[in-house]
Amino acid sequence: MPAEPVTCASVASLLPAMADGSEPVAASLAATRHVGSCLACQAEIARYRRLTRSLADLRDQPVPIPDGLCDSVLDALDGRPERSKSRRLAYAGAVAAGAAATAVLVARSRRGRLPLAG
């Protein structure tokens, strides 16, 4: 049975590795020959090389750092709860206290209305 003809599409998955100058494990001799003589594949390898150079430049791109990050790391090292977690706990406590107070007021007002309802 004759071997499948090598085309640009059939070697496309090998090109990212070839951009590193390495020989992909899956590359057959026919595939390597095709890439070596195909201008379109050579151009694609050049694009991959530009891509990897640009990726290296990403490291210098600033990333917005959350406020208080350093303090929360230092707190965690000290075994203290993260400050933002403390704030969340305080907030949850205030909400729970508010809900309890509301429940008491509602219960009292219902008790007050009972005689009228009867």
Binding site: P62, P66, L69, V73
Partner: protein, 197 residues
């Protein structure tokens, strides 16, 4: 939000590192102050999520403090720290995947449809590196880790394989799939007429 100090990649003060290694907590805290911005940037690039990145950074420094007496100085301090961060991020992403449906796995080989279908997002990523950064964020987590660690942070395949708990061959396969997917994503954006050079 701020940009914090520089990424701390030139933390080479051997005395500070040695002091931290011998148990000096204030020396280690100084190392944290010098490096947290860079560590967070890596964690954020690996997780593509602020809350996850914060958790990863905390885990990484806790592990670094526990293990710094074993740091022998045969690599840059930040390289050592980044390897720990990569390992923490990998564990964090695995745990997260168990709790949330995350369909984009290693075998995914099509461009992220959100980038292809959303013109606003495509326009948003129109500026050179910004566009590339958004495409990296859109990669499946496993492929993103390989691309970020190798092509952005220049870690060798062996180190990446060790920290991600995979073979060197698998690390290379993920890297090459990630690059290919990035090319497809960027082509999609280019085809929509927002080419940025």
């Amino acid at each position: 939000m701020g940009n914090g100090p520089r990424d701390g990649s030139r933390v080479t003060d051997p005395q500070l590192i040695a002091a931290a290694g011998s148990g000096d907590r204030s020396a280690f805290e100084q190392l944290v102050r010098l490096t947290y911005a860079g560590t967070y940037a890596l964690a954020w690039r690996l997780t593509a999520n602020e809350e996850d990145a914060r958790d990863v950074v905390q885990d990484a420094y806790l592990r670094a403090w526990k293990g710094i007496d074993g740091f022998r100085g045969d690599a840059e301090f930040t390289t050592w720290l980044y390897r720990i961060t990569a390992n923490c991020a990998s564990s964090h992403i695995s745990r997260r995947r168990r709790h949330r449906a995350e369909p984009l796995g290693e075998g995914h080989d099509h461009a992220d449809p959100t980038l292809a279908a959303d013109p606003a997002l495509a326009a948003d990523v129109s500026a050179g590196l910004g566009r590339l950064g958004r495409a990296v964020e859109a990669l499946p987590a496993k492929l993103r880790a390989a691309v970020v660690l190798h092509d952005v942070y220049d870690l060798p395949h062996q180190a990446i394989a060790e920290e991600l708990g995979i073979s060197v061959t698998a690390a290379k396969v993920r890297l090459h799939r990630g690059r290919r997917l990035l090319r497809e994503m960027l082509d999609v954006v280019d085809d929509r007429g927002v080419r940025a050079g």
